[in-house]
Symmetry: C2
Subunit: 292 residues, 2 copies
Amino acid sequence: MFYIIGLGLCDEKDITLRGLEAVKSSSRVYLEAYTSILMIQQDRLEAFYGKPVIIADRDMVETQSDEILKDADKEDVSLLVVGDPFGATTHTDIILRARALGIPTRVIHNASIMNAVGACGLQLYNFGQTVSLVFFTETWKPDSYYDRVKENVQLGMHTLVLLDIKVKEQSEENLARGRKIYEPPRYMSIPTAISQMIETESTRQEKILEPENTLAIGLSRVGGDGLQQKIVAGTLKELLDQPAEQFGEPLHSVVIVGKRLHHLEVEYAEEYAVDRQNWRRVAREVYGCADL
Amino acid sequence: MFYIIGLGLCDEKDITLRGLEAVKSSSRVYLEAYTSILMIQQDRLEAFYGKPVIIADRDMVETQSDEILKDADKEDVSLLVVGDPFGATTHTDIILRARALGIPTRVIHNASIMNAVGACGLQLYNFGQTVSLVFFTETWKPDSYYDRVKENVQLGMHTLVLLDIKVKEQSEENLARGRKIYEPPRYMSIPTAISQMIETESTRQEKILEPENTLAIGLSRVGGDGLQQKIVAGTLKELLDQPAEQFGEPLHSVVIVGKRLHHLEVEYAEEYAVDRQNWRRVAREVYGCADL
């Protein structure tokens, strides 16, 4: 059996009992380590499972999946994925490949940011499509995400913005010279994300992401024990003005609040507001949220 | 500490290790049993945890939450929720109440249908807002859900349709006479949902849910072991024509496929199609999905 197992969001204890059973029965265990990160390292997982964990990079999962799937028709093999297995397209690919090889497959679900984002107090059914924000460079500032946010904003829906992760990237020079030297991993922070969004707004000027009139919520390490999880709510401008350490360790995500906003959502998230009064004021005056 | 613990989707083994630790440390354990159902019964959970599990109905969670929260500042109390704790509004209420009482709260996330729906092969980031479909009666056929689906359809996004659950409902007569006699639980099935959607389409006639030109996917017991999970894909008409047993046991959900459709999504879901040729044909000809 080929198992794809969601690890949840934080550490080794977020696996489900069903997932742990599958790991224990597997002769090989891979960890997909490029679309997200756990808050812990490989060695802690290995100690916890009592067996080696093979790191599977993008290259391995996308182009050498037959190696991962080898003998999975005769023995159990597990691929561990941070969050839920259906967060990233590549896992659909490997399941399709397993099917083509006649290998039975089982998915073991877990929390992912796609549902755990509810921790900020906004109702999940009021979220529209999810968007991804990539690192801008001097010459490349893709803004198609802005159109997606606009679609959601126009319907009054919230938007979950997933922030870029660069793992095992090569510099242009190393890439050009074919040198397999990789840059240190980079995770987009909430302040970077917000400054990019404000930059796009200043170019597009369609009043979708106005710094002082747009409410947003930054989340980091959702589900993390005690002090690890950070949720910070405010206008884009307020969030931009916060010191970086306010937002905690990566991974970070941002939610753009939509206008179909219920007063309970405002009250719940107020707990996390940089400035509670301004949070309520913008919700009432700009968002038109009644009952506040 | 007051814990709200997601149980995941299927049975006692879908709890996370972190969740199980919290249950073990709790002096009282409640199970919220009206917004969703597990595939197993209370006694099996009690045997597994080695302690009693108190069933908390809507009345208890919504109006007697202080009873649940009693002494949670001095000892551990757990409220178990099927799926993830942030699926239903009521859990926000009880957390707000705990905050007001100065009781520390911890949420332990898990998979919910909101992210596990990815099992059907459609990409989660292409889903728009989620809608709920309630049981129609002779005189009450609310169709505001149709407007929400329309918003998603017009943007090309997929729609997750959550189907009504009636638990601990009273008949009109018993309600009028104040008799606390409850009807047996009812769970809306995929065929009922689809026939209601087709009924709304025939009234509204806005070509949002045309029986032969709308692709949909029915899901039941997502994440369930082996034969329990059922996924069936086809046009609304094809799904309506399937025998009821094809769809498995409750809970059921339906996805309305949006036009921003990638060929990998079509290929993945084809595995579940009632008629693979027609599935591809509609995806290509009606949805305009290239590369098929």
